[in-house]
């Protein structure tokens, strides 16, 4: 009893002695793009709950989402100008990268560049989603809300200067996408994809978190600024905990970007999830994963780059490129093929990250920008060919697409050629820049591996192109006997035509908004293919920087 009394007295005494905690200074201007995305999503949820009429108009929902995405991009422009500005001598001005919220939030070219990419992927996916939700009978505001909230998580990852903030961003990004993957309640495949994604995603998050904990234990902080400062000024006599932590962080990011050997979920989830959602997953989620990976590894662990994580990254990059490209070839489902090819693309981006140089980072950023539009457009086309039910994704469903929908076939061909890295598309320069970064970093093994896998990859894209242009669906259903009389042959031809029409399924509709989305993606892919300077100039200025708060 006496003890208890003593304890309570000491607690009281402590209470009186608690000083007022200082709160960090927050520059709200740095958060405007994030706030537009996140608050935009939450407002939509609130509005549609209060005004059900608004929720019924799918045009209003899509328009709102695209407006929010464009607003985010517009809000990035003044921030970008501020970051890139250089003060003249003697002039007092705000310029250069900065960090706020006690250094937990960094604003630099890197974060703004990736914020714009996230917003663009939201807009592209929302446009494709509009008609998909109508035909599948899934109309409602939730998919759009989740899309915007998920992207806000990605924005957080791109700007986070603290491992805990990276983790929060990662979870905001992922949890929303788990739901999006399973949003088609009537398709078992969609739900299966959600369960697999969820369990493996949570598994990866736990590893990621354990990594944070170990890095925290070894360096005494979760702030990237403090970690970098600590590692620069101290030599750890036993760095086992730190290395284990770095490895765990790499596993966590590896899952998100689908690097081999953490890629197993990708084909299943891409195949099962609704196609417009895959368009976002392949572009937005991958961008966010690489944003976090590059921020953490290139800023905080620079002193551990040469001997510790770069060799691991080298092996992972080669494995990711090769396994992705080789396994893609044996697939018969186009969605699955492109899932494996997206794994291979992650390997190429890792080549840029592995270089850990300015050239490497801007090459990786250029690749991400080009890839976002290529893949969003590709899955846009896949959504249209999938038609009602989102089931017609076999390679045989693409037979004779050039005859039925010539424009769609041509557009898809351009996207596939861009993925293969054919000149005059953005994909060519993307591959060229990362390989150049590898050569300049004297990682010749990596450069050669990248070139070989690019060739293997070209085969799988050509396979789909051949299916669209060179295989006549009539061939799939037997031939007309040459010995028949004219009348019999005509009858047989009609019969065959009926069979083919039945096998082709319903006609492919091309809704306006989806066409806008695919057209935009195509425009960027081709324009950047002719004028890579449109993007590479920005990518060169978008290097990640660590700036301590208040400096």
């Amino acid at each position: 009893m006496n003890n208890l009394l003593h304890l309570s007295q000491s607690v009281l005494a402590q209470n009186e002695a608690i000083p007022q905690l200082p709160t960090p200074e927050i520059a709200w201007s740095a958060f405007i793009p994030l706030l537009i995305l996140a608050v935009g999503g939450l407002l939509l949820l609130t509005f549609t709950s209060l005004m059900p009429a608004f929720a019924k108009s799918s045009w209003a929902l899509t328009g709102y989402t695209v407006a929010v995405a464009i607003g985010t991009i517009v809000a990035c422009i003044p921030l970008w100008n501020r970051v890139q500005r250089v003060c003249e001598a003697g002039e007092v001005c705000q310029a250069g990268a900065f960090s706020t919220a006690a250094g937990a939030w960094g604003v630099d070219g890197f974060s703004i560049f990736l914020t714009i990419l996230m917003a663009a992927s939201v807009a592209l996916a929302a446009l494709v989603m509009h008609d998909y939700l109508e035909t599948e009978g899934l109309t409602g505001p939730e998919p759009y809300v989740l899309l915007m909230l998920s992207a806000s998580g990605g924005v957080i990852m791109a700007s986070a200067n603290d491992l805990i903030v990276v983790f929060i961003g990662l979870e905001i990004l992922s949890i929303a996408v788990y739901v999006l993957a399973g949003m088609h309640l009537l398709r078992l495949a969609s739900q299966e994809a959600a369960v697999k994604y969820l369990v493996l995603g949570a598994f990866a998050s736990a590893f990621f978190l354990y990594g944070i904990s170990m890095v925290y234990g070894a360096t005494g902080s979760t702030s990237l600024i403090d970690i970098q400062g600590f590692l620069a000024t101290n030599v750890l006599t036993s760095n086992g905990t730190l290395l284990a932590g770095i490895a765990m962080l790499l596993i966590g990011f590896g899952f998100k970007i689908a690097a081999v050997p953490f890629h197993a979920w990708t084909p299943d989830v891409y195949q099962g999830a609704p196609s417009p959602v895959v368009a976002y997953m392949a572009s937005g989620v991958k961008v966010a994963g690489f944003a976090g990976l590059m921020r953490v590894f290139l800023l905080a662990f620079t002193d551990y780059a040469a001997d510790d994580w770069r060799p691991v990254m080298l092996v992972l990059a080669i494995a990711t490129m090769a396994v992705g490209a080789v396994l893609a070839i044996v697939q018969t489902d186009v969605k699955r093929t492109l899932a494996y090819s997206s794994i291979s693309h992650a390997g190429f981006i890792m080549v840029g990250v592995h270089a850990a140089s300015d050239v490497g980072v801007s090459a990786a950023l250029f690749y991400l920008a080009a890839y976002t539009f290529i893949v969003a457009g590709s899955f846009g086309v896949i959504t249209l060919v999938g038609r009602k039910g989102d089931n017609l994704h076999a390679l045989s469903d693409y037979h004779g697409l050039s005859r039925r929908r010539p424009m769609l076939a041509v557009v898809f061909t351009i996207f596939l050629l861009a993925q293969a890295g054919v000149p005059l598309t953005s994909g060519f320069f993307a591959k060229f820049y990362v390989i150049r970064a590898a050569v300049e970093g004297e990682s010749y093994v990596l450069a050669i591996a990248a070139m070989i896998t690019a060739v293997i990859g070209a085969f799988l894209y050509l396979r789909i192109i051949v299916a669209m242009f060179m295989s006549d669906p009539l061939d799939d259903h037997g031939e007309i006997d040459a010995n028949l009389s004219d009348e019999e042959a005509a009858a047989a031809r009609i019969e065959l035509r009926d069979k083919v029409t039945a096998a082709e399924g319903p006609p492919i509709r091309i809704p306006t908004l989806a066409a806008v989305s695919i057209g935009l993606a195509l425009l960027v892919t081709v324009a950047v293919g002719f004028l890579p300077g449109l993007v590479s100039g920005f990518a060169n200025d978008a290097l990640p920087q660590l700036v301590a708060a208040g400096s």
Binding site: A189, A194, V195, A202, S205
Partner: protein
């Protein structure tokens, strides 16, 4: 014998490993999900231990963030699992095989 920080770290590593092994060998989606929770809480233990050893409050604050995130993940996870269980009441992880190839 004095119980040092290392003991707690070893305990957290053991709990984490149990979670990993459980997730890999159990076939009931619900139990697999419980294993994820075990992993997250093992991490929490290591956060608190490091925080105590470093005499820094940051690690303990991190635990709160983890708890909130874990709760959000459970909400979504259970909803997805319930949705699939309604359609196939006896589903195990092995039955989730529509997607393969």
């Amino acid at each position: 014998m004095e119980i040092t920080a290392n003991w707690y770290l070893i305990l957290s590593a053991v709990l984490f490993s149990i979670g990993v092994v459980g997730l890999l060998i159990r076939r009931n989606p619900l139990v697999m999900f419980m294993c994820v929770e075990l992993m997250l809480n093992a991490v929490n233990l290591s956060f608190v231990t490091f925080s105590n050893a470093l005499n820094d409050v940051g690690g303990q604050v991190a635990v709160f963030f983890v708890l909130v995130v874990a709760a959000a993940e459970v909400v979504v996870g259970l909803a997805v699992i319930v949705a699939i269980m309604r359609r196939r009441p006896t589903a195990t992880a092995d039955d989730l095989s529509v997607l393969a190839g």
